[in-house]
Assembly symmetry: C3
Homo-oligomer: 221 residues x 3
């Protein structure tokens, strides 16, 4: 009952929209890595569905939603086709893609948290899995493309923090039995806006104190 | 009942043969990466059993077959020993190894599809998991060896397509309740032959249209 | 009943200690890779809990212990904070960290084996999963950091062998119904000491015979 925070059809449309933008980011990286069209499709699928897949396997929701809903599976293929034929145009609207990606991040951290809670996990564990659903696909994308996950890199704008805030807000609402369409929209919006602000003002997280001045030689990492 | 398309002992022998050739490819990559004998064994095990392991975890068939059948586990160790002692000879018959690898690919995409279907997944999801069983081990092998998965690379002969064709054929047969020893052999053979032809004629998949002429600087990916 | 080889509170303290030192190794690698504080936390969590997580998903113990015990989850965060503020000091006691890491290795290979056995796996499969619990987190750490897993590399002191010996000893004890606080301590100690000796005397495993003299050009792997 929690999982469908909104009416089922609204929820499903939002999920598909989030999957679509995540898939676009996977397909774009595949082009940059010079992969062929099948590599693009694989990377799009895994970026879009990987986070939820990890969550579902961990909470024991098998077979995962990614394999029971044809819409979830076919959406990344549409994104792949789009990038395949219109790659330069999609690159040009990278800014718009980033905005949608932020929306997907906000959405998935909240729905991931509620789904884990429904399956009986504690509040902290649910928030962690919400975070994992939101960022896991991107990490798998970067691992498959043989790159350091952009989630972990110091020189990227904050990505985890907005998702942590969104997932924590959802968990707090669950704690006080106050999660409904309004509060969950609020959690999604908070994460979404935080991510937009992080991109706009290039917010970054600090690195360890007192590192030897290693920025130069380590930056290749 | 579906899973044992052939008599159980024939099926098991075919599985072990497929596991063996996949393990050889893992052990050979380990030698090329300068790993020690334990690294060879780990890479051989994961290449051979990783695809089926992923499939079994996703469909909820736990503990996975890889952990319940000692023959499945010990076969990659035999392959490791062989490569350890006879590495130059095995390298020399790389062509033969590739033919067996193609056979393993054809076999696993069909048995993977039927096993997923047995566990109640839809036809499309079953075909996707069949593909995943067949190619997943190789992807894990390349990720562990810190290389771009050869599945995704543009400059490799078609590998996914034969498996997609084999898995789809099996799914169509399942749809029309027509999967038996004959039709499944046909699906295996189709995938096998397609892969052989792809290697023979260096069939490749296209990359995205209108890429900026980036083949030069991106080929390092 | 097997899993709590020692009194539950002793067992839990040992687990937390093992998780702590594994997390330190993850956080230290994150600093070396120039990750920010969130990247450090992610790498610490995955190094510390990843091996047990893989084991639990494979044996069907979901949700995994990593998500049901808050102490397991919060320990790596403490380790992250420590490395964040005291990185140079922690680096300086790398020798001590290695000793604790060896203790974690010994502990986890034995508890991993017994947990898998409790869930109904065979003795060989249990030992393999015990090994996987002990080394899996470090492999995930290196994959996420985009490095060749140090487990697989030839130029590192033996790491797998002590864990194999410990897991096998535990499995043999289980076979003869002789696993108790004393024998399991013995198995843990054996693995621990073997790892210390491997570090002290730089024991290494052999690479494949008759490689073409490729040590020079391949060492970059």
């Amino acid at each position: 009952m929690f999982h469908t925070l909104f009416s089922p059809s609204v929820q499903h449309s939002l999920d598909v929209a989030g999957i679509f933008v995540f898939a676009i980011s996977g397909a774009l990286l595949a082009v940059r890595k010079n992969f062929d069209v099948f590599g693009m499709a694989v990377l799009a699928e895994i970026t879009a569905l990987g986070g939820g897949l990890l969550r579902d396997v961990i909470i024991g929701a098998v077979p995962p939603a990614a394999f029971t809903d044809l819409g979830y599976f076919s959406t990344p293929l549409v994104a792949t086709a789009l990038v395949f034929f219109l790659h330069p145009q999609v690159e040009r609207i990278q800014g718009a893609v980033n905005v949608f990606d932020a929306a997907g991040l906000g959405l998935f951290c909240v729905t991931g948290t509620t789904k884990a809670y429904e399956y009986g996990l504690g509040l902290t564990a649910s928030a962690v899995l919400g975070l994992g659903s939101a960022v896991g696909g991107g990490v798998l994308r970067d691992v498959l493309a043989n790159e350091v996950p952009s989630l972990l890199r110091w020189d990227r704008d904050l990505y985890a923090v907005p998702a942590i805030v969104g997932a924590t807000t959802a968990a707090v609402c669950l704690r006080f039995d106050a999660l409904n369409a309004f509060t969950s929209s609020l959690a999604v919006l908070t994460a979404f806006l935080l991510r937009l602000l992080a991109m706009r003002y290039h917010w970054r997280a600090p690195r360890a104190w007192n590192r030897r001045s290693s920025a130069e030689e380590d930056v290749t990492g």
